[in-house]
Amino acid sequence: MARLDRDRECVIVRIVYDGTARSGKTTTLRALGASLGRQVETPAEAEGRTLFFDRLDYTGGRFDGYAIRCQVVSVPGQASLQRRREALLAEADAVVFVADTSAAGYGASLEALRRSLAAIGDRTSPVGLVVQANQRDRLDAVAIGRVRADCASLSPHLAVTESTAVNGLGVRETFVFAVRLALDRVRELQQTGRLEVGRPDVECADDLFVALQQDAEAERPQGAGTAALGAEPASFGRTWTSPPPAQESAPARQSAPWPPDRSVSSGLIWPPIAGRIALHEATEGAPVDPIRRPDGSWANEDEAPWRLHSDLEALYFDLEEGRAALIEWARHHAAIAQVLSRRSIVLARAAPGAWRLWQLVASIPSLESGVRQAWNEGTPESIAGVLLSAAKRSLDVQARLAETPLAKLGTFGNLAVENGLTVFSGLFPTRIGPADAEPFGAESAGEILRHHLAPILRDLAAARSWEHNLKIVVEIRRRAEERGWSGIGEILCRLLPPA
């Protein structure tokens, strides 16, 4: 949908309000309209229910010298009007999902959210989604912590805001955040040469009404309309070089590190939209507060929910130089995208007279921490189960990493389980050399496990009696045979020294 209209000097984006019937979409739009001083248009209603859409136009803000014209549209929530809803979602540049968080409506909202994610998930350019947890004034409202946890389990790329649309609370803040996500998408389309130029097909509520009616008459297959958005985004290449070193004796090197915050500009965060949402989550509440490490790098505490790191030399005094380094880092990440944690981002934060690159990664318990916890708290049976499972997961990821320039990246300390998948959730090494790309040898399974697991097991086994360790060995053999993983089981048993 996003378009650059040079004649009228504006960039046009569409923000779509989605949600179940009676979740508060129309109320939200009316509250937003009242707040912005704009009239909401509703082409057809039946008993107070939206049949096509509610819509308001708002021109405000600036993007690269162009006015931002927002087409704000809400979908009909009724299940029977699913086709209209999907047609509107297909043209969204950002989606605000209005969730009914009252006890009665919460389950249906979560289910609808899952469907919305599926509907926008296959768009060729990512579309940001904000969950507006509505009806927070209800006495039976579900705790916001649970809403956040449920949303995180559906997708790591969801931002959550709170609202009480009936009195307008939280509505405008959510809208402004959605506009920022839409602008991130515009920037992404612009940089990949896919931002359409010219007047949009749909200029006003009448145009949209006619388009939806034609759509219904033609009975187009579901999902039609997304093809016009263009080809797949250009994939990052696999050119592997280290970031260019920063200038020596730079004055800003000794100054405050300027940690990431929400002011990071569009085009300086990767991935563009999911990264913005992750940044929003990471900077919720107390500001991240990095400290200087002995090697000169900046990082926050190990226990923090988000790990933050910036190397001593990740400082650039020229924007283009910084942007080039950011793209290089993004390439590193994109090369292992299939095993990368969805909450792993890189960004360039402006500092006085300079730009600093940061990595920001959600802290997820690693395979190593799982093994250590089981060892300290579990029975020989449960320890054997955790060890086998961790070893299998590690080998599976290693097989996928072998094709990338980071063959040796996945250690037990930086692999973790995210939404049931094994992912790399560690910090990237600042400099990537040829040794990182060398895959393990012919005896790869044994070599990998020996390389990554032997030091951990040596440490753990030493703390327990030989009888205990023997029980674990016996249990590993039994379970490995049951699962058809005898090879892995044998390697583990050989690595487990008696105390």
Binding site: L36, T59, G60, G61, R62, F63, G65, A67, I68, G168, L169, G170, R172, E173, F175, V176, V179, R180, L183, P251, A252, S255, D261, R262, S263, S265, S266, E284, F317, A350, P352, G353, A354
Partner: protein, 122 residues
């Protein structure tokens, strides 16, 4: 994060402590969108003014970087023949924009009142 109630309280205080308030807004720097507005003059296009001011703030921040200054931007003052406009950063991603009638107040009062009360919305 500030709520609508915090913004309303801030606007109430500013309105009561500054004579000749024309309009005041809280603006998202990146997009130039207004997060909250209060206007006493309907002919004053606050959203357009806020949007263009966001570009001015971004340009000033770029200038600071280009000069290699280690300072942070606190506020910007614009003096018109009959109005004073003040922009005050309240966070790295948002600022307050206020326009007042120059004949009814002065810069010192505007800066003091805004600085004193914007803590609650930072």
């Amino acid at each position: 994060m500030a709520t609508e109630k915090d913004y309303a309280e801030f606007f109430n205080k500013v309105d009561s402590e500054i004579s000749g308030l024309i309009a005041v807004s809280v603006v998202d720097l990146e997009s130039g969108m207004t997060l909250a507005v209060r206007t006493n003059r309907q002919d004053f296009d606050l959203s357009t003014a806020s949007a263009f001011n966001s570009e001015m703030v971004k340009m000033k921040l770029k200038t600071i970087k280009a000069l290699g200054l280690t300072s942070t931007l606190e506020d910007m003052l614009l003096t018109l023949s009959d109005q004073i406009h003040l922009i005050r950063m309240i966070s790295p991603s948002a600022f307050v924009y206020i326009a007042v009638d120059r004949a009814k107040t002065n810069l010192a009062i505007v800066r003091t009142v805004v600085a004193k009360n914007c803590v609650g919305i930072a």
